[in-house]
C-alpha cells in the first residue's frame, strides 16, 4: 500500500516536471528558409480572472507576428512569439520579464495589461535594454513619474504605450458624466491598485472642478465579493451615480449588489471594467453601467475592418477583446523597428538598443486604431476615448471623443 502510494506520487511528480518543461513558445507561422530567429515577448494575464483581456492581447500579437512572417517584413529573420503569463500579479510579471530578458533572441515585449504589473516589469526590461510597448497601461506615473502633474519625468527609456493616460481618461469620463450623463453628485470607490486609484482620483478631481459634488469616497479589497458595507454607505449618501476605479471582477458584483439593494443610479468605470466577462458575473443587473475605454470602438473603425476579418479567419478560440486592436498596433510598431534595426546588427542582443531607438522615432504610424506617434515620454499622440453603456449584457458605444491634456 505504502509502496504503491509512493510510486503514484513519483509518477505524478515526473508528469508535472514534464509538463513544466514544455515551453510556452508558439510558432509564428511556418518555420522555413530564414535562418535566424527573433522573438517578440508578450507579458499579460493568460490565466486567472483577467485572462479574457490577456488572451486577446496574446492572440492579436500572434496575428501580427504571423502576418509579418508571411510578408517577410523582417528580412532574414523568422519571428517567434514568446508569451509569458503574469496572472495580473506584479511579482509574477517580474519573473516573466527576467525570463524574457535573459533569452538572447528576445527583441521586444508587448505588454502588460495591468499598470501595477508594468511597474515591476518595466525596470527589468529597461536594465536589459529591451523595448516594451503596452497596449493597455493607462497609469500616468509609468511614463511621467510620480510627480506627473507638476514635474513629469521619464523613468524608463525603453517603456512605451499605445494606450492613452488616466489623466485623460478620468476627465474624459467626468466630462461625460456631468454633460450628457446629467449627473451632479457621485460616490467614488477604488481598489487601491495603481490603476484604480489613479483613475478614480483623476475622475473625481475633474468632476469636482467642473461643478460636480463627490459625496463620499471608499475603497474595496481586490478579491472581495461582499460589498454590503460600502453599498449601504452609498445608499445612505444618495448620490446620482457611483464611480469605480478598478477592474471587472470586483465591478461586476459591485454593480449587481448596488442594484439588488435598490440603488437606481449607474456605476461608471474605466477601461478596466470594459470587458464582456463583466456580464458573465453581473448579468443584466449591470444594465446602465457606463465604461470609458481606450480608442474608438474596434468594430466601428474603418481602419480596423481588415484586422477584425483577419482575426476571425485566424481561428483563435478567444475574442480580441478590449485591447486586441491596440496590441496588434503595438506589435506592428515593434516589428517595424525590428525591420529597421536587425539587418544592420550581427545578432538580436546587439540590436536591442537600436530597436529602442527605432521605436522612439516612431512618427505617424498608421495603425488599425489610428495614427500613433510617441512623444518624449513614450506616450502615444492618439488620445481617442469612447464611452460605452451596458445594455442587455452588451457594451454599446454611445460617445467617442478626444481628450488632450
Amino acid at each position: 500500500m505504502k509502496g504503491r502510494f509512493l510510486q503514484a506520487v513519483t509518477v505524478l511528480g515526473v508528469l508535472l516536471l514534464l509538463a513544466a518543461g514544455c515551453s510556452r513558445e508558439e510558432g509564428g507561422g511556418q518555420a522555413a528558409e530564414p535562418t535566424k530567429t527573433v522573438k517578440i515577448g508578450v507579458i499579460a494575464p493568460l490565466t486567472g480572472p483577467l485572462s479574457e483581456l490577456g488572451l486577446g492581447i496574446k492572440n492579436s500579437v500572434d496575428l501580427a507576428v504571423r502576418q509579418a512572417n508571411e510578408k517577410k517584413t523582417v528580412a532574414g529573420y523568422n519571428i517567434l512569439l514568446a508569451a509569458e503569463d503574469d496572472t495580473a500579479d506584479p511579482a509574477t510579471g517580474a519573473n516573466a520579464a527576467n525570463k524574457l530578458a535573459s533569452a538572447p533572441q528576445v527583441a521586444g515585449v508587448v505588454g502588460t495589461l495591468n499598470s501595477s504589473v508594468s511597474q515591476s516589469v518595466a525596470p527589468v526590461l529597461a536594465r536589459a535594454n529591451i523595448a516594451q510597448i503596452s497596449p493597455a497601461n493607462t497609469n500616468d506615473t509609468l511614463t511621467r513619474g510620480p510627480d506627473f502633474k507638476t514635474a513629469p519625468k521619464r523613468i524608463w527609456p525603453t517603456y512605451f504605450r499605445v494606450a492613452s493616460l488616466d489623466s485623460a481618461q478620468g476627465p474624459f469620463g467626468a466630462d461625460y458624466a456631468l454633460g450628457d450623463g446629467g449627473f451632479k453628485t457621485a460616490f467614488v470607490i477604488h481598489d487601491k491598485k495603481t490603476y484604480g486609484q489613479g483613475l478614480a482620483t483623476a475622475w473625481a478631481d475633474r468632476f469636482k472642478e467642473k461643478g460636480g459634488q463627490v459625496l463620499g469616497t471608499d475603497t474595496v479589497n481586490p478579491g472581495d465579493r461582499d460589498f454590503g458595507a460600502v453599498v449601504t454607505k452609498v445608499i445612505g449618501a444618495k448620490p446620482d451615480m457611483v464611480f469605480y476605479g478598478g477592474e471587472y471582477p470586483e465591478a461586476g458584483p459591485l454593480a449587481a449588489q448596488l442594484k439588488d439593494r435598490g440603488f437606481s443610479g449607474p456605476l461608471m468605470g474605466g477601461d478596466g471594467i470594459y470587458s464582456s466577462d463583466f456580464f458573465k458575473g453581473a448579468g443584466d443587473k449591470a444594465d446602465g453601467t457606463l465604461a470609458t475605454s481606450v480608442g474608438q470602438p474596434t468594430a466601428r473603425l474603418e481602419s480596423a475592418k481588415q484586422f477584425v476579418t483577419d482575426y476571425e479567419a485566424a481561428g483563435f478560440s478567444e475574442s480580441y477583446s478590449a485591447y486586441g486592436a491596440l496590441s496588434f498596433d503595438a506589435a506592428n510598431v515593434l516589428i517595424q523597428a525590428l525591420a529597421k534595426a536587425l539587418p544592420n546588427a550581427s545578432d538580436v542582443q546587439g540590436a536591442r538598443s537600436s530597436i529602442v531607438t527605432a521605436v522612439t522615432e516612431t512618427r505617424s504610424f498608421a495603425g488599425v486604431t489610428g495614427e500613433h506617434s510617441f512623444d518624449e515620454f513614450g506616450d502615444t499622440s492618439n488620445r481617442a476615448w469612447t464611452v460605452y453603456k451596458a445594455e442587455s449584457k452588451e457594451w454599446k458605444d454611445i460617445f467617442s471623443g478626444e481628450f488632450q491634456t
Binding site: 480572472p49 472581495d224 458595507a229 460600502v230
Partner: protein, 300 residues
C-alpha cells in the same frame, strides 16, 4: 442609527455563511486536529454544484425565476454532493497521513485546495458566473433599515443547522461516538467504535454544511468563481479560531462576530481597514484568551 442597523444586518448575513464553513473547520479540527485548508474549496464546489443543478433544472424542467422547488432541490443536491468530495479528501489526502507528523497533512490540505481550485478553473471556467436569484427579492423595513428576506433565510438556515448539529452530537449514539473519538481515538477504538467511519462522518457533515453555505453565498453575492472559497475559507478558519477551534458554538459565535467586525470596520473606518480591524480584534482576543472566546472544548 438607520445605517448602524443596516450595517449590522450586512454583518450578520455575512456571518451566516462564514458560520456554515467554520463548522466544518472546527469539527474536523476537534476530531483529528487537522486544519482542513481544502474546506473552503468544498464551499466553492457547493456553489458550483448548486449552479449546475439549477442549469440542469432549467433545461430539463423549465425552471425559471424564483421557485421554492428549485431552491429546495438546489440546496439538497449541494448538501448531498459535497460530502462525496469531503470524504474523498479524507480518504485519499488525509487518511494515509493520519499518523504522519502534523505538518504533512497540513501541506496536503493546501495542495488539495489548489488542486480543487485549478480543477474547476481548467476544466470548467476561470471567469465569473452569474448565480440565479432563487429566492424572491422581497425586503421589509426595520427601524429605517431595509432587510431582504433572503438574509433572514440565510441566518435562519445557519442557526437551524447548528442547532440540529448540536442535538445530533449531544443526543445520538453516533454523536456520542464522535465525542469519544475526539476525546481519545485509541480508547474509542478499544470501546468498539469504528474510528474511520466516525472521522468520515465528520467530513460528511462538515462538507454538507459548507455545500449549503456555498449555495447561500452564491445567492447573496449574485456571482461565483473558482477562487471564491479561498478567502471565504480563510475567514471561516479565522472565525473558528476566534470562537475557539474545536468548539461548535464557538465557531458560530466567531463567524457572526467576524462578519459584524468586518462590516463595521469597512463601514466606519473605510474599506481598506476591513480586514485590519477584524484581525486586530482577533489578536486581542487571542492575547487574553489564547484558546478563543469559548475555549477549545472538543465537539460539543
Amino acid at each position: 442609527m438607520d445605517e448602524l442597523i443596516q450595517q449590522l444586518a450586512n454583518g450578520v448575513t455575512k456571518g451566516s455563511y462564514y458560520a456554515l464553513i467554520a463548522l466544518g473547520y472546527t469539527m474536523v479540527y476537534g476530531i483529528i486536529q487537522l486544519i482542513n485548508f481544502a474546506h473552503g474549496e468544498v464551499f466553492m464546489l457547493g456553489a458550483f454544484i448548486g449552479l449546475w443543478t439549477f442549469n440542469l433544472g432549467v433545461s430539463a424542467f423549465g425552471w425559471g425565476g424564483t421557485s421554492v422547488v428549485a431552491l429546495v432541490v438546489v440546496l439538497l443536491v449541494a448538501a448531498l454532493a459535497t460530502p462525496v468530495i469531503g470524504v474523498s479528501l479524507e480518504r485519499f489526502a488525509y487518511r494515509p497521513l493520519r499518523h504522519a507528523p502534523r505538518l504533512a497533512p497540513l501541506i496536503t490540505a493546501l495542495g488539495a485546495s489548489f488542486l480543487l481550485q485549478q480543477a474547476v478553473a481548467v476544466f470548467y471556467t476561470r471567469g465569473q458566473l452569474q448565480f440565479p436569484d432563487l429566492f424572491p427579492s422581497t425586503s421589509f423595513q426595520i427601524g429605517g433599515a431595509s432587510i431582504q428576506l433572503l438574509w433572514v433565510f440565510m441566518v435562519t438556515v445557519a442557526l437551524v443547522l447548528t442547532l440540529a448539529l448540536t442535538l445530533f452530537i449531544r443526543t445520538t449514539r453516533l454523536g456520542k461516538a464522535m465525542r469519544a473519538t475526539a476525546e481519545d481515538p485509541d480508547t474509542a477504538r478499544l470501546m468498539g467504535i469504528n474510528v474511520d467511519v466516525i472521522i468520515a462522518l465528520t467530513f460528511v457533515i462538515g462538507s454538507a454544511l459548507a455545500g449549503v453555505g456555498g449555495v447561500l453565498a452564491g445567492m447573496y453575492l449574485g456571482q461565483i468563481n473558482f477562487f471564491m472559497g479561498f478567502i471565504a475559507g480563510l475567514k471561516a478558519f479565522t472565525a473558528a479560531v476566534l470562537g475557539g477551534i474545536g468548539n461548535i458554538a464557538g465557531a458560530v459565535l466567531g463567524a457572526f462576530l467576524l462578519g459584524i467586525l468586518e462590516t463595521f470596520g469597512a463601514a466606519y473606518l473605510g474599506g481598506q481597514w476591513q480586514d485590519v480591524f477584524a484581525f486586530c480584534v482577533l489578536i486581542l482576543v487571542l492575547v487574553f484568551r489564547p484558546t478563543g472566546l469559548l475555549g477549545e472544548r472538543v465537539s460539543a
